[in-house]
């Protein structure tokens, strides 16, 4: 899923200053799963924002909505009647949802309430960790199902840097595994260490953001 976190309330207050009536919109898909932008979070954030804006001397009316998916037009359409009645929209979907609203409602300012941070999974209750970097050239087949692009702080391809802590954690964060330690453990358990001895050549990053905005065109699915 795509994960994100609320922007700090003071930043939101700053963003919304001057508006009198806003629509706070959540998304019931990824960001609901990561407890940042679902219906529950919409209803939690709205009163917090009201208080903060009032304290700031700028009381505003906040209406709330949560769409099934903010990244698909058929769900976004549901807001067609309501958006023209407010001064601005605050979306707590991922950056894709924010852009969908901004495109659909070009006359109305649409602000991001989240910082979108990663493609991740819930590792345990209350803990989400990065899994994919959308690099466009998947190496999971040769790294025993563990991604070094997303999960190594340096995106290394040929084994761990010298910065692995004594307990196998990454030097950048004592709570994050050195993913190359994990890759090695898995290779060892499978009796397949030889697979890690091959030198992985410089990667082609051109099928990701580095090659320009990504576009996939499937003629077979076109009208």
């Amino acid at each position: 899923m795509i994960i994100g976190e609320w922007k700090p309330i003071p930043e939101l207050v700053e963003m919304l200053r001057g508006h009198k009536k806003i629509l706070l919109v959540g998304c019931a898909t990824c960001v609901a799963e990561c407890a940042a932008g679902g219906e529950r979070e919409v209803e939690t954030l709205a009163p917090l924002l009201r208080i903060a804006l009032e304290t700031d001397g700028n009381p505003i009316e906040i209406q709330t909505q949560t769409l099934e998916r903010q990244c698909e037009w058929e769900f976004v359409e549901a807001l067609d009647a309501q958006v023209p009645t407010v001064d601005a929209v605050l979306s707590i979907a991922c950056g894709i949802g924010v852009q969908a609203l901004a495109e659909r409602f070009a006359e109305t300012p649409v602000y991001p309430g989240l910082n979108t941070t990663a493609l991740a999974m819930r590792e345990e209750a209350g803990l989400w960790t990065s899994r994919c970097a959308a690099c466009g050239d998947c190496v999971l087949g040769v790294t025993f199902g563990l991604c070094p692009v997303a999960r190594c702080a340096k995106s290394l391809f040929n084994g761990p840097c010298g910065g692995t802590r004594k307990d196998g954690k990454c030097e950048v964060d004592e709570n994050t595994d050195c993913i190359w330690c994990k890759i090695y453990e898995r290779a060892k358990a499978r009796g397949a260490i030889d697979a890690l001895l091959q030198i992985r050549k410089a990667k082609n990053w051109g099928n990701s953001r580095h090659g320009g905005p990504k576009r996939i065109l499937r003629e077979d699915l076109r009208p």
Partner: protein, 317 residues
């Protein structure tokens, strides 16, 4: 001298080719634009080592560029080992800098991943934790790129260079970081990719290093590349404790920390320990030299180098 064909004809390469025990030291560039601190260090260390490592924004703190500082050292008569990390430049910038460095007369290049920018000076300075890192290629891929530029006269993308780039290629080895049994295999990959010489993370635990080195030697790696164990001169018991706890891959035996704690003159004791470590490394069959550092205390090195019997350096010109 030797009949071996030299790849880069750096002093370090000639010393190793001549079968001599090599000595490299480290010169950290200043956090300013003044060339004097580099020249001052060069004046202290000139003639005492076969190569002078010039760090590349180590600990992710902005310093004078390793290429510029290396050129200053070269002018001052100290042959530099330019360090190049993968953190700040993509393959285009790195290859361009390699061409420039070669044109300036630099002949040794040490390829590293580089300290993560989130760890600016281990928290002692602000650094630039918000910087975007690059890591377009990793250290092993960089070694392969430099080798291709040198041996095939080709860029990574396949375009031809107008002439090959003569570098004696270095890489690093952290034998005691986990997963320990993979570290020697990763060393093998670096050598397979083209590393001619290897410098290691600081060694204090001689026994553990000797065991790791024996594995490398058994795999033939000590013959394929010259391995130079790293030695950092202890400045105090506190420094050893700090490194043991906080610097990945550095293992300091308790006895050594005690010895520094009990020393009446910790500086002199640190120098004695450094000399003993040099001798211990030299006694390990297959070790081709040492990489000696006294972080921001280069003035301590001449005495240690002399006491270890490593001065004068061999004539290889």
């Amino acid at each position: 001298m030797t009949t071996t064909t030299l790849k880069a004809n750096s002093r370090l390469e000639r010393v190793l080719a001549g079968g001599h025990f090599a000595l490299t030291v480290e010169v950290g560039p200043p956090r300013g634009a003044n060339a004097e601190p580099v020249r001052k260090k060069a004046a202290i260390l000139k003639g005492l080592a076969d190569g002078y490592n010039v760090t590349d924004n180590q600990t992710a703190v902005v310093r004078m560029s390793s290429i510029a500082a290396a050129k200053l050292l070269l002018e001052a008569g100290c042959e530099p080992i330019m360090q190049m990390t993968c953190r700040d430049r993509n393959r285009i910038a790195m290859q361009s800098d390699l061409l420039g460095a070669a044109a300036l007369g630099l002949r040794n290049c040490l390829c590293l991943s580089g300290d993560h920018q989130g760890q600016g000076a281990s928290g002692k300075l602000k650094g630039h934790p918000g910087a975007k890192n690059v890591f377009d290629v990793d250290s092993i891929q960089l070694v392969a790129i430099v080798k291709r530029m040198r041996d095939e006269g080709l860029q990574e993308g396949g375009d031809a260079l107008t002439e090959p780039v003569p570098f004696f290629i270095g890489a690093v080895w952290t034998p005691l970081s986990p997963p320990e049994d993979f570290r020697v295999l990763r060393l093998a990959k670096k050598i397979e990719a083209g590393a001619d010489f290897i410098q290691t993370q600081a060694i204090y635990d001689v026994e553990r290093f000797a065991a790791a080195f024996a594995k490398a030697r058994d795999m033939g790696l000590a013959e394929r590349a010259a391995i130079l164990p790293g030695i950092i001169v202890p400045a105090s018991a506190g420094m050893l404790k700090y490194m043991n706890k906080n610097v990945p891959g550095v293992e300091v035996p308790e006895a050594l920390i005690k010895r520094m704690e009990q020393a009446k003159d910790p500086k002199a004791e640190g120098a004695r320990i450094a000399v003993e470590l040099i001798e211990a490394m030299r006694a390990i069959p297959g070790v081709k030299g040492v990489h000696l550092q006294a972080i921001e205390a280069e003035e301590r090195l001449p005495e240690i180098i002399k006491a270890a019997g490593l001065s004068p350096r061999p004539e290889v010109d």
